[in-house]
Structure formats: structure tokens, C-alpha cells
């Protein structure tokens, strides 16, 4: 059984029909990439799964449970964690406080240890733990956002445009990190405009077009797909 199952969801912004029946599934341990142009509905899909928006039709199953109408804050303790687009770190809190907010739903004693392992994963954050997050560079803020999401000990990590606004050198670093996290058993659903990078690390991918899934295939096949190459990879 798939860890996440999205069945024919329709989501609206007021009267605007943003998602017109999106369906896909994510198996445990996979890295799945959602790619597509601006306004194709990638972020809306993530927001619907994470509970920030509710689908008007269709359903989302997580671990066999219907979470279509669950509120976002209740999903965190069930193991779904999100790295929002534009990073969304709390600019006025310190690095350590940001990480602590990530573990907000946890009441166990392991938070201290997890802080340490975050700093091992991202040494830059360890050097700057008392620094206010707003003063970090873009790349460091992205690292912080990811580290913060991991603090909730998620089984499913939703990543929204992790490469946005980063220098190419830093983009490589971010994707390396994502692979490393996946190798530790966290399932990853990745929304990316940078289709090239996303399809290199993903197992499977879905191409969204105007609120619908246009193509679904393995990442390797998608990289060879002519339409994908022309439209998203810039290869003629």
C-alpha cells in the first residue's frame, strides 16, 4: 500500500479551479518529483496534501487514513512535514529557536539529541545557532527550513521549490542533502521548477499541466521523454 495516495482532487481558490482532478501516489522510501510550469498547480497540490487547503472533491489518503479535510497542524504529529516555498523561516527567531519550533508537536526527550544531529547534518547551522534566522544567507535559510522540518521526525517530507532563489552552486548542495535525507528512510515529495535537478534525484515523477497530471513515469523515462525535454529541460 502506498504511503500517500492522492485520488482525483479538485481544489479551488475562491472560484478559480486550480486543481482539476490530480491523482498520484507515493510509496514508502521513494523520492517523487512534481514538475511543471508556473501556475500548473504544484504548490496548490502540496498545500492540499499538507492541509493548508482543503480539496472540494476527491480524497487524500496517508498511511491508509483519509486526511483530505484534516487541519495542517494535526498532520505534523502524524508524520507529514513541509518545507514551505520561499523557505518561511521565522526571521526574528534564532536558528536554534527555529529548530525548536520544528519539534513543536513532540513531547519526547530526544529533542536535544536531534538538535545535535541537525548540526551534524548542517554544520553551518551549528556555527550560527544563536544567530537570528533573518540574517542567514539564502542557502543557509533553505538548510534551516529543511532541518526544521526534519525536527518533527517526519515519515513524509513535502519540499516546495527548495532551489528557488539560490545560486547554482548552492542548488547542488540542497539536492545532495535531499538525497541524503531520503537515504535515511524519509519519503520525499518534491515540487520543483528546476526539472533537470529534480529528475536526477527522483525515482518517479509527475508532470502537472494546468491543474492536471499530464505525464506520469519513472524519472529515467521522463528525462528521455521528448515533450518533457522540450518543455521543461530546455533540450531541443
Amino acid at each position: 500500500m502506498a504511503l500517500l495516495e492522492v485520488n482525483d482532487i479538485h481544489t479551488y481558490y475562491g472560484n478559480i479551479h486550480a486543481l482539476k482532478g490530480v491523482s498520484f501516489e507515493v510509496d514508502s522510501g521513494e523520492i517523487i518529483a512534481l514538475i511543471g510550469a508556473n501556475g500548473a498547480g504544484k504548490t496548490t497540490t502540496l498545500r492540499t496534501i499538507s492541509g493548508l487547503m482543503d480539496p472540494r472533491e476527491g480524497s487524500v489518503f496517508y498511511d491508509g487514513e483519509d486526511i483530505s479535510l484534516s487541519r495542517a497542524d494535526t498532520l505534523v504529529s502524524k508524520g507529514i512535514s513541509m518545507v514551505p516555498e520561499g523557505r518561511g523561516v521565522f526571521a526574528k527567531l534564532t536558528v536554534e529557536e527555529n529548530l525548536d519550533m520544528g519539534a513543536y508537536t513532540r513531547r519526547d526527550g530526544g529533542i536535544k539529541d536531534d538538535l545535535e544531529s541537525s548540526y551534524e547534518l548542517f554544520p553551518r547551522l551549528g556555527e550560527r545557532k544563536k544567530q537570528v534566522a533573518g540574517t542567514l544567507s539564502g542557502g543557509e535559510q533553505q538548510m534551516l527550513a529543511i532541518a526544521r522540518a526534519l525536527m518533527a521526525k517526519p515519515r513524509l517530507l513535502l519540499l516546495d521549490e527548495p532551489s528557488m532563489g539560490l545560486a547554482p552552486v548552492l542548488v547542488d548542495g540542497v539536492f545532495d542533502t535531499v538525497e541524503r535525507i531520503a537515504s535515511e528512510g524519509v519519503t520525499i515529495l518534491l515540487v520543483e521548477q528546476n526539472a533537470h535537478m529534480a529528475l536526477q534525484i527522483a525515482d518517479r515523477g509527475y508532470v502537472l499541466q494546468s491543474g492536471e497530471v499530464a505525464i506520469a513515469d519513472t524519472a529515467a523515462n521522463l528525462r528521455q521523454n521528448e515533450t518533457v525535454q522540450r518543455t521543461y529541460l530546455g533540450i531541443d
Binding site: G51, L52, T74, P84, G88, V89, G102, Y104, T105, G134
Partner: protein, 624 residues
């Protein structure tokens, strides 16, 4: 060279006319005449005249400082200072001329010329951009007629009434007396004096800029101390009265005014101490930071002990009248700390804070009153009702928070503003009259009794406020450093991301509103016990605005800032009685100046000042 010169001239002109407009304005609203009531130094000058001198002095200082930036020579700076001083006096001089019977024709002339001047300026502009001849003539005529109607009607009013006071009621004899330095009957002498004083003050400002830093600091410090002691003569006398015998007091003060010799002595002493501090202060601070940490802690500890001692002894040091002011300040500190939970930590702009204050006051009034409305006849005491008032306010906070949970920003502010008004209307309504007395309010509220002692004087009530404030301060510091506090900060910065962290934003906001309401209830109850009666007109939107302003002026999300804000905004108007008519004018001006010059408040919280310095934007794109 020419560019530079015109740029300098513009600086002087703008600053001078700005301070001139300021002086004219505060005269026209009656502040100068009102401040005249208060002598700063006996028989030398008053607060009103002080304003007349201080404005050109400060502007001269600023202008010279700017001139120095453009590398002006000393004489240029002093000429600039004199010019600024003269320009400061200019609008007032013109108004003086208009106001006198002799030179009234100037006003008529001006009013008659204005339409032609305005029309001609406009016509010249049109001509410059190459407009059509007929259009130019047509608009010239139209403007002359339109503006003329207005100015000719003014001229007619003055003609009939023969007095400027029909239009500017505060341009009175008192005002003339102040600005002419008591030369009402020799107008020209008066004008000359005003120009001379103003120019001198402007030049003095420039000289201050030229002076080497140490004497400058010393002199400014000495002047500042003397003027503040003089302006607050009444307050200082009240404090001394508690500790000095009458004869000594008489030597220093004539009624509430500082005598000349003590003022001189004070000036000399404070200037010397200012000099010593300017010269050796840096060394002292350096020496302190070089001390071993344990020693430093000891010094800090002694400082804290002295401060705590002063706070404990305060009512006996400052006497009854000032203790009363201190209690009022304390009540507002309590409310400020409470409201800060909603505004400073959670970012919820609550403009209906008066609700909690009213609930607390009325709960205490109804439950303890021994008058006709208190049907419980002394069964409940103050101490039993305080927790009830606290809980009732929390309930009110909760109930009013539920409908506004989904609102953000401006909408939230408007909704809460409405709730505050509802409470005021309920308190005065006939519907609740049998319970809380309507417009007559509740009377005969007994004073708290502690261990058999009736706490009926402000000196005793002060301790209740002190303890309540300390408890609130403690809770609020703990909250600031807790997960609960950080959860609120997270919501303030980005609600969506906070939700994505697993924060139940509805619950967190409810908690913020509820906790924030608690201290308002206690403040209201203390207020009711202090005054002994509760009337609906004590609970207006101005309470909410006062509390909000003191938070903003003191420093948002900063606990010490709130105390400072309360002292400045609540304490000062109580001490300067003449001030009270202009309270909201001053509030407005202070808020505008603070927003421009020091948006982080007097005593900013570390986070907020950091944010403002670096311009970090809290909001980042959350979704597409």
C-alpha cells in the same frame, strides 16, 4: 560653489521656516499661553518663553550640524544659526503685525494681494510650458475670482469684528505678552526683542556645534537638568517636601517655582558633574567592563538592590500626590504588559483592550460595594474578588476572541475596536442599569484591608500595584522565553508556516487573547478600589489607545520599554497640568516623531530593534 551655496541656503530656509511654523502653530492652538502659567525660574522665564527660545536653539543646532557636513566655515555656521533664529521668529512677527490695530492694513493688503499673486504665479507656469494665450488669461481671471472670494470674505470678517480672534481664538493678549516678552504696548520693541532673542538662540545653537565635545556635553547636561527641574518645579517640590524641612524648602522654592540662586547653583553643579562624566565616564565604563565577571556581578547586584530599595520606599520618598500618580502609572503598566502579549508577542492588534479593564472594575464594584448596588454587603473582600476579576476578564477576552479568530491585521483591529465600544455602551445602558447603575455607576466601593490595616491612601495602594506588576512582569518574561511565547512569535511572523510546524493557530490566538485580558481585569479592579466609584465614562476607547501608545512609544515587545512608555505617556501629563489640554495633540506628535526617528521605541526589545536595523522582512512569499 554656487550649487553648494544654494543648497546651504535651502537647508537654512527650510529648517528656519519649519521651526517658525512650529512656534506659530503651538501659539495658535494656545500652548504658549497655557505654558506661560508655569515659571521655570522665578522671575526669569516661563515654560512658554522657554519654548520660544528652545525652538530656534534646537533648529540652529541642527542647521549648523548640517552645514558642517557640507564643510562650512565657522562664520557661515553662525550666520546660518542667526538666520534660522530670525526665520523662526518671522511667522510670529507677521502675525503680531496683523494682530495690532496700527498695522492691520498690512493684513488687508495681504489678503487683497494674495489672489493676484497666486493667479500670476500660476499664469507664469502656464506660460512657461507654452500654453495657449487665452487659456492663460482665462485661468488667471478664474483664480483671482475664486481665491478672491475666500480672502475678501476673511478681510470682511476682520473689518467687521476688528479682531483676529474671530478666526484664531488663541491669538490672545496672553499670547502677545509671551511672544513680545511683556512689551504689549510697545509693539516694535517687543518684535525687536523677539527677533533678538530668537537670533541669539539660533547663534547659541551654532556655537554649541562648534564647541569641543566635552564642554558641549557638560553645558547641555547642565542646561537640561536645570530646565527639567525648573519645569517640573511642582513635582520636585513635592518630593523634597517629604524629606526637607519647610524653611529650607522656602529657600529653594517660591511656591512651586525654583528661585534664582538655587537654579544657578543647580546649573553650576550639574554642569560640573556633566563635565566630569563627559571626561571620565568613558573610562569608568571601560574600567567596569574590565572588571572580573564576579566583581561585575557584585556591582550590578548592588545596583539592583539600591533600585529595589527605592522602588520599595518610593511612596515615602515622593509623598501622597506623586504616589497617586505612581499608582495610575502602575495600573497602565499592568495593562501594557497584558496587551503586549497580544500585540507584541502574537502580533494581534487588539484595539478593544478597555473591555477587560471595564470588566475587572465592574466585577470588583458590584461584588464589594456597600452602596445600594452592592447586594452582597461586605461578604466579599477586595482580595477575594481580585481572582474573580482576573477570571472574568479572561472569560471576556476568550468570548470576544472567538468570533475574530479568523481575522488578520486591519480587520482584527476594527473588530476589536467595535467590541470596546460595545462594552462602553453596555455599561451606560438602561438594560444593565439595575445591575451596574447605568450612567450613575457603582459607588461606595470599600478600600482593601490588609492584616487589619485599611489601604486607603495611594501610598498603600502603591504596593498592591507594585506586587501585581512584578508578578505580571515575571510571567511575561517566562512567557517570552518559552515555547508558548515562541509559538506566538511564529504566528506573528507567518501564520501558514506556523501551522505547517504543527501549531494550532486558533488555540494559540485564543490563549494570547485570554492571557492578555487577565492583567486588564486586575488593573480595572485596582482602579475601582483606588477611586472608590466606577462610572461608564471611565471606559472609553481612549484607554485602549493610551495602552497601545505606551507600548509603541516604549518599545513593542519590550518589558522595560512598557514601564518607560507608561511613565512618559501617563505620568508626564499628570505632572504637567497645563499639558493636559494638549494631551492628544502631544500624543499624536510624539507617535509621529517616534515612528520617523525611533520606530523601535525608547527601550527596544533586542529582536525588534534588530529587525528594524537590518530591514528584515518577516513576511516571505508563502504561496503562489
Amino acid at each position: 560653489m554656487n550649487m553648494l551655496r544654494s543648497q546651504r541656503a535651502r537647508t537654512v530656509l527650510t529648517l528656519g521656516l519649519l521651526s517658525g511654523a512650529f512656534i506659530l502653530f503651538i501659539g495658535a492652538v494656545g500652548m504658549i499661553a497655557a505654558f506661560q502659567e508655569r515659571e521655570v525660574v522665578d522671575d526669569v522665564f516661563s515654560l512658554g518663553q522657554l519654548l520660544l527660545v528652545l525652538a530656534p536653539f534646537a533648529t540652529g543646532y541642527i542647521a549648523s550640524d548640517r552645514l558642517r557636513e557640507s564643510e562650512a566655515e565657522a562664520q557661515v555656521m553662525i550666520i546660518g544659526g542667526v538666520a534660522v533664529g530670525l526665520l523662526t521668529a518671522l511667522p510670529t512677527v507677521i502675525l503680531l503685525l496683523f494682530n495690532s490695530a496700527e498695522y492691520r492694513f498690512l493684513l488687508d493688503l495681504t489678503l487683497k494681494l494674495v489672489p493676484f499673486v497666486v493667479a500670476t504665479i500660476y499664469a507664469v507656469r502656464l506660460h512657461r510650458i507654452g500654453s495657449d494665450q487665452r487659456l492663460i488669461i482665462g485661468s488667471w481671471l478664474a483664480i483671482v475670482v475664486l481665491v478672491g472670494i475666500v480672502t475678501f470674505s476673511f478681510a470682511l470678517i476682520f473689518e467687521i469684528k476688528g479682531d483676529l480672534r474671530t478666526v484664531l481664538p488663541n491669538i490672545s493678549r496672553d499670547w502677545v505678552d509671551v511672544v513680545t516678552f511683556d512689551h504689549r504696548n510697545e509693539l516694535m520693541t517687543g518684535i525687536f526683542t523677539l527677533l533678538l532673542v530668537s537670533a541669539g538662540a539660533g547663534a547659541a545653537g551654532s556655537i554649541m556645534v562648534l564647541a569641543p565635545p566635552i564642554p558641549r556635553k557638560a553645558l547641555l547636561y547642565g542646561l537640561g537638568v536645570t530646565l527639567i527641574v525648573g519645569a517640573f518645579g511642582e513635582t520636585v517640590r513635592l518630593i523634597l517636601q517629604e524629606n526637607v524641612d519647610r524653611d529650607t524648602l522656602k529657600l529653594i522654592f517660591r511656591r512651586d517655582t525654583l528661585r534664582q540662586n538655587p537654579a544657578l547653583l543647580l546649573f553650576i553643579v550639574s554642569t560640573i558633574s556633566g563635565f566630569l562624566w563627559a571626561k571620565f565616564g568613558q573610562q569608568a565604563r571601560l574600567g567596569f567592563s574590565n572588571l572580573e565577571p564576579s566583581r561585575r556581578r557584585a556591582v550590578n547586584g548592588v545596583g539592583m538592590l539600591v533600585f529595589a530599595g527605592i522602588m520599595l520606599m518610593l511612596p515615602w520618598l515622593i509623598g501622597r500626590t506623586l504616589s497617586d500618580v505612581a499608582v495610575t502609572i502602575g495600573i497602565f503598566v499592568l495593562m501594557g504588559l497584558g496587551l503586549n502579549i497580544a500585540i507584541g508577542l502574537a502580533g494581534l492588534l487588539d484595539l478593544g483592550y478597555v473591555t477587560n479593564y471595564a470588566v475587572g472594575a465592574y466585577i470588583l464594584a458590584v461584588l464589594t460595594s456597600i452602596g445600594p448596588l452592592g447586594r452582597l454587603d461586605g461578604v466579599f473582600t477586595f482580595w477575594m474578588v481580585i481572582p474573580v476579576a482576573l477570571l472574568a476578564a479572561m472569560c471576556a477576552g476568550f468570548v470576544f476572541a472567538v468570533p475574530v479568530l479568523r481575522m488578520r491585521g486591519d480587520y482584527l483591529a476594527i473588530a476589536t475596536l467595535g467590541f470596546g465600544e460595545i462594552i462602553g455602551k453596555l455599561a451606560i445602558s438602561d438594560w444593565l442599569k439595575p445591575l451596574i447603575g447605568g450612567a450613575q455607576g457603582v459607588q461606595a466601593i470599600p478600600k482593601p484591608i490588609f492584616l487589619g490595616i485599611e489601604l486607603k491612601n495611594p501610598e498603600e495602594l502603591y504596593y498592591i500595584v507594585l506586587v501585581a506588576s512584578l508578578v505580571t512582569l515575571f510571567v511575561s518574561i517566562r512567557l517570552n522565553n518559552s515555547r508558548t511565547g515562541r509559538q506566538w512569535m511564529a504566528i506573528r511572523e507567518d501564520e501558514d508556516v506556523a501551522t505547517a510546524m504543527g501549531i494550532d493557530t486558533s488555540r494559540a490566538k485564543l490563549l494570547a487573547f485570554t492571557l492578555s485580558a487577565a492583567t486588564g481585569g486586575v488593573a480595572g479592579a485596582i482602579f475601582a478600589a483606588k477611586v472608590g466609584t466606577v462610572f461608564p465614562n471611565s471606559f472609553t476607547v481612549f484607554i485602549s489607545i493610551n495602552v497601545l501608545s505606551l507600548i509603541i512609544v516604549g518599545g513593542i515587545a519590550s518589558n522595560p520599554g512598557i514601564v518607560v512608555g507608561a511613565v512618559v505617556l501617563i505620568g508626564l501629563p499628570e505632572l504637567l497640568r497645563e499639558f493636559s489640554d494638549f494631551r492628544f495633540l502631544m500624543y499624536g506628535a510624539l507617535l509621529v516623531i517616534m515612528m520617523i526617528k525611533r520606530p523601535q521605541g525608547f527601550v527596544p526589545s533586542k529582536l525588534v530593534s534588530h529587525e528594524i536595523r537590518t530591514g528584515v522582512k518577516a513576511k516571505m512569499a508563502a504561496a503562489d
